[in-house]
């Protein structure tokens, strides 16, 4: 039996089938969680915010255009939620969980895996060291592949500010990656 499309699931949810939304959540929970984890660096916060993102999406489901892909939309909701969370004054610094929960990949060389993991840690730490807006601009551009205009709309910022955050963020990342290579 063919898998139900996102559109069908959204329409069924609107019709009162809450379980259909559960299927949507299972479909996108990994990508939404990873948006939150890249921006927050802490697993529990990331799971909480990912869950909250789906709840927000559910509340807005009536105004959502079901002809548009659901994944990019809910990931943008997640990014905005995380940005708001990061900008809260009571927000503490950002620990990075040790990534000891990587999925076991059969047939992969342990050395290659360790290198990939180490490289991933370096990039995540560099990302987390960026100010919240720079980090979010990088997330929306590189992981969600939004245009400058779309990022401006998603973040509610002027285009010039978005460019500034994105370019500064990249420059800082380049410097951090370069210094990590030297170590």
């Amino acid at each position: 039996m063919a898998e139900a499309s996102d559109r069908d699931l959204v329409l069924r949810t609107r019709g009162g089938e809450v379980d259909a939304f559960g299927e949507i959540v299972r479909r996108y929970q990994v990508s939404v969680f990873n948006v939150c984890y890249r921006l927050l660096g802490e697993r529990r916060d990331a799971e909480d915010l990912a869950q909250e993102s789906f709840l927000r999406a559910y509340q807005r489901l009536r105004s959502y255009d079901a002809e548009r892909p659901f994944g990019p939309w809910v990931r943008q909701v997640a990014a905005r939620l995380c940005l708001n969370y990061l900008e809260r004054p009571d927000r503490s610094t950002f620990p990075l969980d040790e990534e000891n929960d990587w999925p076991a990949a059969s047939g992969e060389q342990p050395e290659a895996r360790a290198r990939e993991r180490e490289q991933g840690q370096i990039i995540r730490r560099a990302l987390l060291a960026l100010p919240a807006k720079q980090r979010t601009a990088v997330e929306l551009r590189h992981f969600q592949e939004l245009s400058y205009d779309e990022i401006a709309a998603a973040m509610g910022l002027p285009l010039s500010d978005v460019k500034s955050h994105l370019f500064r963020g990249r420059k800082a990342l380049a410097e951090k990656l370069k210094s990590a290579d030297r170590i």
Partner: protein, 202 residues
């Protein structure tokens, strides 16, 4: 003659080139410059390494099924269609009653009497209320004309009587309007699971 640095690509140009956000003509010029410039390719490469590093970042799995937590907090979405039909119906009825009530002579008399008893300082609103009455009269005049020149069966119909003689009790009418209005609007205020934010907010 411009100094050499003026001919180099700006940092913004480098980013826009990598992002595919440069205008086509500007992108062609930028690529032509990169082929001959001794310094700009190295600057570009620095940013390309960032692009490559970010692209190579793996996704992590979730440790818990988020769907269970989400579903535990959901209630079926309210059926806005029925709610709006009810609201629009109630408000249409309220508007009709209002038009009838304000158009009848008895309403104007009752309001004039009330303003005297309450010693209201101004009666400008009575003049304002004369407008719907004038509107009613115009409407009736048009209706009479249509009926007179219509098919013979219709042309014999009598002019429309005032439809509101039985609604002379102003307070009753106003109270009814208030009830209808509140009934309609209260449906808009039914508690929801959570407030629905604008898409741009989170």
């Amino acid at each position: 003659m411009p100094i050499e640095s003026e001919r180099h690509l700006s940092e913004e140009d480098l980013h826009a080139l990598l992002d595919g956000e440069l205008a086509p003509a500007a992108a062609v010029r930028a690529r032509a410059h990169l082929e001959t410039c001794p310094t700009c390719p190295a600057r570009l490469k620095e940013f390309e390494s960032v692009f490559a590093a970010l692209k190579g970042l793996s996704e992590l799995p979730v440790q818990h099924d988020l769907a269970r937590g989400v579903l535990g907090q959901l209630t079926p979405l309210p059926n806005n269609g029925w709610r709006w039909i009810w609201v629009l119906g109630a408000q249409a009825v309220a508007a009709g009653v209002l038009a009838v009530a304000l158009g009848q002579p008895a309403a104007a008399e009752w309001l004039a009497l009330a303003s005297v008893r309450l010693q209201l300082p101004s009666t400008w609103w009575l003049e304002f209320l004369a407008w719907p009455r004038a509107g009613w009269e115009s409407l009736l005049s048009v209706a009479q004309t249509v009926l007179q020149y219509g098919p013979s069966l219709i042309s014999q119909a009598r002019p429309l009587p005032w439809p509101t003689e039985g609604l002379a009790a102003g307070p009753t009418v106003l109270a009814g309007l208030v009830v209808l209005w509140l009934a309609g609007n209260s449906l808009l205020l039914l508690p929801r699971t959570r407030s629905a934010d604008a898409p741009g907010e989170a």
